[in-house]
Amino acid sequence: MTILKNHDTKGVAFVDDAKLTARHVNVFYGDKQAIFDVSLDVGANEVIALIGPSGCGKSTFLRCLNRMNDTIDRCQVQGDILLDGEPIYDGSMDVVPLRARVGMVFQKPNPFPKSIYDNVAYGPRLHGLATTRVELDAIVEYSLQRAGLWNEVKDRLDAPGTGLSGGQQQRLCIARTIAVDPEVILMDEPCSALDPIATAKIEELIDELRENYTIAIVTHSMQQAARVSQRTAYFHMGQLVEVNPTEQMFTTPEHTLTEAYITGRFG
């Protein structure tokens, strides 16, 4: 296996209508560096997939994009990340509105121990998005519908969210994110804890969401990347090795590491 030496990313890391722009990002956990000089654009209304062997820093990079890494004391982020041209690690940027604009769905479904309704209404209530109960009801219904969950739960909105099946829980978490009306949705292996049928539903959903939202999804399944994304970024040991349109990446990878990964020689 070739050891990665140069930091040059193969392929096309930059786009014209960038929603999120990352430049020379380095991330450290204490003394240990997890991300090495990564530069990448996420275009508006596209789905970009982040792939790579486990431990290569996909989650770490994703969590930089809405400053979720702030919650880890020892984590330090260097470099520039811009949302619509605004630097998000700037002192003047408040994480609260940032995270309202850049939502996140996690690997393991994590509904709050509240009713389905309250799970979805949680964000709008925090941010004061609805002034009346009617408005709030509308937001909840819309979000659940966008997440494809409305028909399954509309009769039991008062039931606890934790009582749903795994796939439903994950769609509830997506609905919860949509309810805040974000611009970007980050997804960290959203299907890894789900069965194939639930996975298919979520993948379908991601495809639909693309028209309104910019989506960055971490996945370790190449098939999933192929099915849902337009562009794919391949990470290896904290470095961004290659970024290309998904089809091209899976047919004619530029970098030998990418090829090795895609053909299943490691992962």
Partner: protein, 425 residues
């Protein structure tokens, strides 16, 4: 989505000011809660230190005493018992009187009241030790009465006085100004048992009582606790028995301590006829109280012994009992000791159950055996706190400081032991 003139971003921005203020308030509230807790510690300790630290100084009045053998009816060869029966009180009275010949009878009485009755005992003790000084003049530190002691230590600088007459005050000022009256370390506090006279009351008896009681507790609760833990962790055949014992241990850990006193009273004293007010009965009751703590910590210590060590021993053909006693127990022992020290610290502070089994007696003699009537340090505190005398309040605080001193040492020991265990891992 909803028809509102504001975009989502604007709505979020609009809510920010209020939410940041709430965040600041919440943060401040949390900080204040911690601060309140920490301040409580400081105030509690400060208050008791302030009230109690002066206990460790005792006021004395140094005077020349002519050991008039004729007055005392003694010769240098007198026996100890004879010396002790001599009228040292009269001697002190006479000598004080001699220094101020113009005094009236009433004044003499007032003067004498400034000296503790303990002064005569101390003088007789001294003469027993040094009979060769009979008929010589010695400088002797006369123990001051507690009123004088309080006045000298607290009131003099403030210019107030309690229960002292003008003429008494004038003498006191004179002694204080001439340097005849001063304070020195209050050794008596650590060498005497209880007394009605505050200046003669000490914690020696209570300390011995506590020591004996804790010894009984330790001797009983340590083996029983360890044995229970070993049985539950390594031998118990049935889950039901483990559960039953576990439930009982948890309940005993949560039950108010006074109920152990009820048990001691009804069963140990009333049914079995154990003598009340002794370290024996106190230790029996405290054993039952200490057991849950010891058992719980001992079980944790046994659990933390790596299974691989036990398996290795079994592999060599050792029996269960041998594995437990030769391999598990030595490794678990430091952890068990930590728990036991903490349990003893708890037992050291226990008061309520001991009140019920009669350890509230007024005990002057220092106990020497577990069957002697005795009291313990916290109960002594309880007894003294009840006295209206100001000097007893001071002594109560002093006794609390002694108690806290023991507690802090025991806890420090436990912490050090625990650190050693953790380093070894």
């Amino acid at each position: 989505m909803t028809d509102s003139s504001l975009s989502t971003r604007q709505k979020v921005e609009r809510s920010l000011a209020r939410r940041r203020a709430t965040e600041t308030r919440f943060h401040a509230l949390g900080f204040m809660a911690v601060l309140f807790g920490l301040l409580s510690v400081v105030v509690l300790f400060g208050d008791i230190l302030l009230k109690g630290s002066s206990t460790f100084r005792q006021t004395v009045i140094v005077t020349d005493i002519h050991l008039d053998a004729q007055f005392l009816g003694l010769t240098p060869r007198s026996k100890e018992a004879h010396i002790r029966r001599a009228d040292f009180e009269g001697l002190i009275r006479q000598q004080l009187h001699a220094a101020m010949p113009t005094m009236t009878e009433d004044e003499a009485r007032e003067l004498h009241r400034l000296i503790s009755i303990g002064a005569a005992w101390q003088l007789s003790d001294w003469v027993v030790e040094n009979p060769q000084h009979l008929n010589q003049t010695i400088r002797f530190e006369l123990l001051a009465d507690h009123l004088v002691d309080q006045w000298f230590k607290h009131d003099r600088r403030k210019g107030i006085s309690q229960r002292l007459s003008d003429v008494q005050l004038s003498w006191l000022h004179e002694w204080a100004d001439s340097g005849q009256m001063y304070t020195r370390f209050n050794r008596l506090f650590f060498t005497h048992g209880d007394s009605q006279e505050p200046e003669l009351a000490g914690v020696r008896g209570a300390m011995m009582g506590t020591f004996l009681t804790l010894m009984v507790t330790l001797v009983l609760s340590f083996p029983i606790g360890i044995a229970t833990a070993i049985y539950l962790e390594q031998f118990a055949p049935a889950r039901q028995w483990i559960n039953l014992v576990e439930i009982n241990i948890n309940n005993l850990a949560a039950v108010p301590s006074i109920t152990f006193g009820l048990l001691g009273l009804a069963i140990f004293i009333n049914l079995f006829g154990v003598t009340r007010s002794t370290p024996l009965i106190g230790g029996l009751v405290l054993t039952l109280m200490a057991l849950p703590t010891i058992i719980i910590s001992a079980r944790a210590a046994i659990k933390s012994v790596p299974l691989s060590i036990q398996e290795a021993a079994y592999g060599l053909g050792a029996s269960k009992v041998q594995v437990v006693f030769h391999h598990v127990l030595p490794l678990a022992l430091p952890g068990m000791l930590t728990g036991t020290i903490l349990a003893m610290a708890q037992a050291l502070g226990a008061t309520a159950p001991l009140l019920l089994i009669g350890m509230v007696a007024f005990v002057v003699d220092v106990p020497n055996a577990i069957s002697d009537p005795s009291t313990v340090l916290p109960v002594q505190i309880f007894l003294w706190a009840d006295s209206p005398e100001r000097a007893f309040i001071e002594r109560t605080s002093g006794a609390i400081l002694v108690l806290l001193g023991f507690l802090i040492s025991m806890n420090t020991l436990a912490v050090l032991l625990r650190q050693r265990i953790e380093r070894r891992r």
